[in-house]
């Protein structure tokens, strides 16, 4: 069952190696340092991504007005302070790309898989520290290329984050489809390589390096989530890579995988026989699992934080694992619900409606189990806990509207409207962000050996929570009114004039919410240096990471790796005085495992 970590390349006494500045902070092979590198790179990308959203929100609220903010930030793309329509699309595109891939995939999964997998399963490090380092640096490289693409002469990629060809394939169709799109594709190809290396590492580590006694059914749900996420990533990311490579072939080498019969700017292009719908299939074969790659780690984190702060076992541990597996399986056969009106056979639409609505069942089970976990708990309102409760709230609100979008008949009229924008921002954008914040507040002491200021955490949570609903709740209504997304302005449609005031409300909430992320940044970076020293186990948690020393050390535990004797959720066990029993505490004489 569980393998000894002794077989690991590191010596089993866990000597603290001499580390130079470069091997400790830059080309580090230590999973905890790599986790921090992921987190900080992800944070920087997040700041860029959110800033972009604020810029285009200002445009949507006050479309005709010249604005000095545009002039200052967009330069030649805002002549006289009026935003250019091309750059609007570019902002939307890059905002989506950065948030989905760079923040909520790499920043979330990369950070917490790296930090927690070895610490929670009781391993000295990842199976391959070197691959792990390569994975981070490829991610860093792809981030740099993505940022560089913003400064390309003809503009960054602007075909939407889904980069459907032919728009993304033809520089004639759009300025951003030239060098900007080339850099986008290169960046994403490198990103995928990084993600695959990371995922393989996570899978191998979880399978092989669990400490003695850590059976699969004693794993914390975080590890289950990261593990299954990595499996989905390995299955689906290669398909996006192939789509990107074929698109590069179409763009640069004259093939016709996705293009056919095109007449543009007065000329007929040579492409013949390809189909853009093929690209949509390939894209969404990753694209849909991708949203679960984003949300599953957040779910794992939230399960863990909710249990620890409710001082109660997570309710229905096995059902939680089963629903993770069910979601993972279903996630690979629902991609067509993005394509109900793409022109594919309507019969396929029926099949995808069926599988899509099925996925609501494991999701509902998870939501109910979370609520029951809080029931009759002893709820400790730490900032991580607030974000976890917030996660459940937005996940329900956003998830429920999925029942509308997943229903092909209803999707006809709300497809690609703001209803969709509201839905996915709540269910996976905001929710995953909350999951990430929950993880950061909860494991901050583990990462930096210091406590993060909780009062600022409260301030951060409450303003963010109100802003998130303020931004995305009204969006459902303008979507149901038929307002398409990705419109630079609605002022060309008098039909939508009665929506402009909603847009102003949304933008004000967005500005407030965006601005209050500064509180978090201040708290995060400030506490690294000025936070109070953290005790060994500040949240009185059961999992193994809290048995490792607070000080940074390569190899995680001095001396032997702790052995595991019980499941991860022995909170308020009636056989024990304390309201938590760490996993490495042996069973008392005559004590039976309360849970199997």
């Amino acid at each position: 069952m569980s393998a000894h970590a002794d077989t690991h390349a590191h010596d089993d006494h866990g000597h603290h190696h001499k580390e130079t500045f470069i091997t400790k902070y830059i080309f580090s092979q230590d999973h905890k340092m790599i986790a921090k590198q992921y987190l900080i790179t992800g944070t920087i990308m997040g700041v860029i991504g959110i800033l972009m959203s604020l810029i285009f929100r200002i445009q949507l609220a006050w479309p005709e007005e010249p604005n000095v903010i545009f002039e200052a930030l967009l330069g030649k793309w805002a002549p006289d302070g009026v935003m250019d329509a091309d750059i609007y699309l570019a902002l939307v595109t890059i905002h989506g790309t950065i948030m989905v891939f760079f923040v909520l995939t790499a920043g979330l999964s990369g950070t917490f898989s790296n930090l927690l997998i070895p610490l929670q399963i009781g391993a000295r490090d990842m199976a391959s520290g070197f691959l792990n380092m390569v994975s981070y640096w490829l991610f860093f490289l792809s981030s740099v290329i993505m940022v560089i693409s913003l400064f390309v002469e003809a503009g960054p990629a602007a075909a939407g984050w889904t980069i459907y060809p032919p728009l993304s394939a033809l520089p004639l169709a759009q300025g951003g489809s030239g060098m900007g799109m080339t850099l986008w594709l290169v960046s994403m190809a490198i990103f995928i390589a990084s993600s695959l290396l990371g995922s393989l590492n996570y899978i191998v580590t979880v399978i092989n390096l669990r400490t003695k006694g850590m059976s699969m059914t004693r794993l914390p749900l975080t590890i289950w989530a990261f593990f299954i996420t990595a499996v989905i990533g390995v299955i689906s990311f290669p398909v996006l890579l192939s789509a990107a490579l074929l698109l590069i072939m179409d763009r640069s080498f004259g093939t016709s995988f996705f293009l056919s019969d095109i007449f543009i700017q007065g000329e007929v292009l040579h492409y013949q026989g390809g189909s853009p719908v093929l690209f949509e299939h390939l894209f969404w074969f990753l694209g849909h699992p991708e949203v679960y790659i984003i949300i599953l780690p957040a779910m794992g984190i939230v399960s863990e934080v909710l249990a620890a702060n409710s001082r109660k076992p997570i309710f229905g541990y096995r059902a939680m694992i089963a629903s993770i597996l069910a979601i993972a399986f279903l996630s690979t056969i629902v991609w067509g619900h993005h394509m109900f009106v793409s022109g594919m056979n309507p019969f396929l639409g029926s099949v995808f409606t069926f599988t899509t609505l099925l996925i609501a069942i494991p999701s509902a089970v998870k939501a109910f189990n979370w609520i029951t976990t809080i029931w009759k708990g002893n709820v400790q309102m730490n900032p991580g806990m607030l974000f976890s409760i917030g996660f459940v709230s937005t996940f329900i609100t956003g998830g429920l509207t999925g029942i509308i979008l997943g229903d092909s008949a209803l999707d006809i009229n709300v497809h690609d409207t703001y209803f969709v924008v509201a839905h996915f921002h709540l269910v996976m954008g905001i929710s995953a962000l909350y999951g990430m914040f929950a993880g950061i507040y909860h494991w901050y002491p583990r990462m930096f050996g210091r406590m993060i200021n909780k009062n600022l955490g409260y301030l951060h949570f409450w303003v963010t929570a109100i802003s998130a609903y303020g931004v995305f709740f009204p969006m459902h209504f303008i979507g149901m009114a038929g307002l398409p997304r990705r419109y630079y302005t609605n002022s060309n449609f008098p039909l939508f004039d009665d929506i402009s005031n909603v847009n102003v409300v949304i933008t004000i909430f967005a500005l407030v919410g965006g601005a209050f992320q500064l509180v978090y940044l201040y708290n995060f970076f400030g506490s690294i240096f000025f936070g109070k020293k953290s005790p060994q186990n500040p949240w009185r948690s059961t999992t193994l990471e809290w048995t490792a020393p607070v000080e940074h050390m390569h190899g995680n535990w001095p001396g032997e790796i702790p052995h595991v004797h019980r499941w991860a959720y022995d909170y308020s066990n009636p056989n024990h005085e304390e309201d938590f029993v760490p996993q490495n505490v042996p069973l008392k004489e005559g004590e039976e495992q309360l849970h199997h």
Binding site: I69, P484, L518
Partner: protein, 355 residues
């Protein structure tokens, strides 16, 4: 003006944030706090949870009262429209009920069971019966919705060629729409963008040798006779577009290299729709807004906005480039006689070519 305002607002927000940061920072320093929630924190945040629950309900109510008339849930102008609207309303009700209950439980439990020193939580790890119940309830509800949804979907997408639909091609290009009618024979001539000949005004690439193409009619406005089924054949010449006709609850992508289709039967003429109280109210409201805007514009010396009159629209709903936000075509639903009179005035393809 807005720019200045925005900046002032931003500066104020930043100052306010900085002040709050300092206050919260100091509050923590004074308490010698460990960074872990105390009973007081639990109590305050517990009450805030209830407050937040109130906020969620409030924003739901405000949105529904203020913007609840925006959604296209009634006034559909196609035969299948009411079935979609029905399904939508049923689903919305289900969602609303589930949302109200689950949000209540979540926030209320967080409040009710807020932590206190010395209290011990209930060890409650499993209950197969409970889990079975809340697996089976969503199964039943979703099964109902799936069955209803799929039967609606199949009805809408299945085009019955036997009731002789009017065949119309919707032709998309950056950044406008064209419509093509089959003419006398109601049959569209063959076409391919490779045959486009701008010099001869063969702008849609019709096959000039195809007899069916000769009487085809190309227009920039979409006229439809009321009550007759229409079958749209969509084409695009350059990138993906999407023909979105929200009032008819209709949408289909236009894909270069292939022909897609969507069919519906318009049921309300444009002039009848303009007379419905809902639309009159909406139009009046929009014209109020436009009047206010016009005042501001004329003060600046710019042209006033034209008053709005209701029309059905075809919008592009798939990102297609710079002017995506302004790719539209007017749709006019009229009586058969009006339609016949209109179509008679249009030029047939063979007569529109320049030799």
């Amino acid at each position: 003006m807005t720019a200045l305002l925005t900046i002032i607002v931003l500066v104020f927000i930043l100052i306010a944030i900085w002040q709050m940061v300092k206050i919260f920072d100091l509050a923590q320093a004074k308490n010698e706090s460990s960074g872990v929630a105390t009973d007081k924190d639990n109590a305050i945040n517990g009450y805030l949870m209830m407050g937040f629950l109130g906020f969620i309900y409030l924003i739901t109510i405000i949105s529904m009262v203020k913007w609840g008339d925006l959604p296209l849930l009634s006034n559909s102008a196609s035969e299948h429209g009411p079935t979609i609207d029905n399904l939508m309303i049923i689903t919305l009700v289900v969602i609303f009920v589930v949302q109200t209950i689950t949000q209540f439980l979540l926030h209320y439990y967080a409040f009710k069971y807020r932590g206190e020193k010395g209290k011990k939580a209930l060890f409650f790890a499993d209950n197969n019966k409970l889990e079975f119940i809340w697996t089976i309830i969503p199964v039943i509800v979703l099964a109902g919705l799936i069955i209803y949804g799929l039967s609606t979907w199949i009805n809408i997408m299945g085009v019955d060629e036997s009731d002789d639909p009017l065949v119309v091609e919707l032709y998309a290009q950056q950044f406008n729409w064209k419509a093509r009618y089959g003419g006398e024979d109601n049959t569209l001539g063959l076409a391919n963008v490779r045959l486009i000949d701008i010099d001869r005004a063969n702008i849609l690439g019709l096959d000039e040798s195809d007899p069916n193409a000769q009487d085809d009619i190309i227009t920039t406005e979409l006229h439809l006779p009321v009550g007759r089924p229409v079958l749209f054949k969509m084409r695009s010449q350059d990138v993906l577009h999407s023909a979105y006709m929200p009032h008819f609850r209709a949408q289909m992508n236009c894909v270069p290299g292939m022909i897609t289709q969507f069919g519906f039967t318009p049921t309300v003429t444009t002039s009848d729709m303009r007379l419905t109280p809902e639309i009159q109210e909406k139009v009046a409201n929009i014209n109020d807004i436009r009047l206010k805007k016009s005042k501001q514009l004329t003060e600046k010396g710019e042209d006033a906005l034209e008053p709005y009159e209701f029309d059905y629209l075809l919008l592009c709903n798939k990102i297609c480039g710079k002017s995506h936000y302004n790719m539209q075509m007017k749709i006019i639903v009229e009586t058969q006689e009006e339609y016949d009179a209109w179509i008679k005035e249009q030029k047939e393809f063979k007569n529109s070519l320049i030799n």
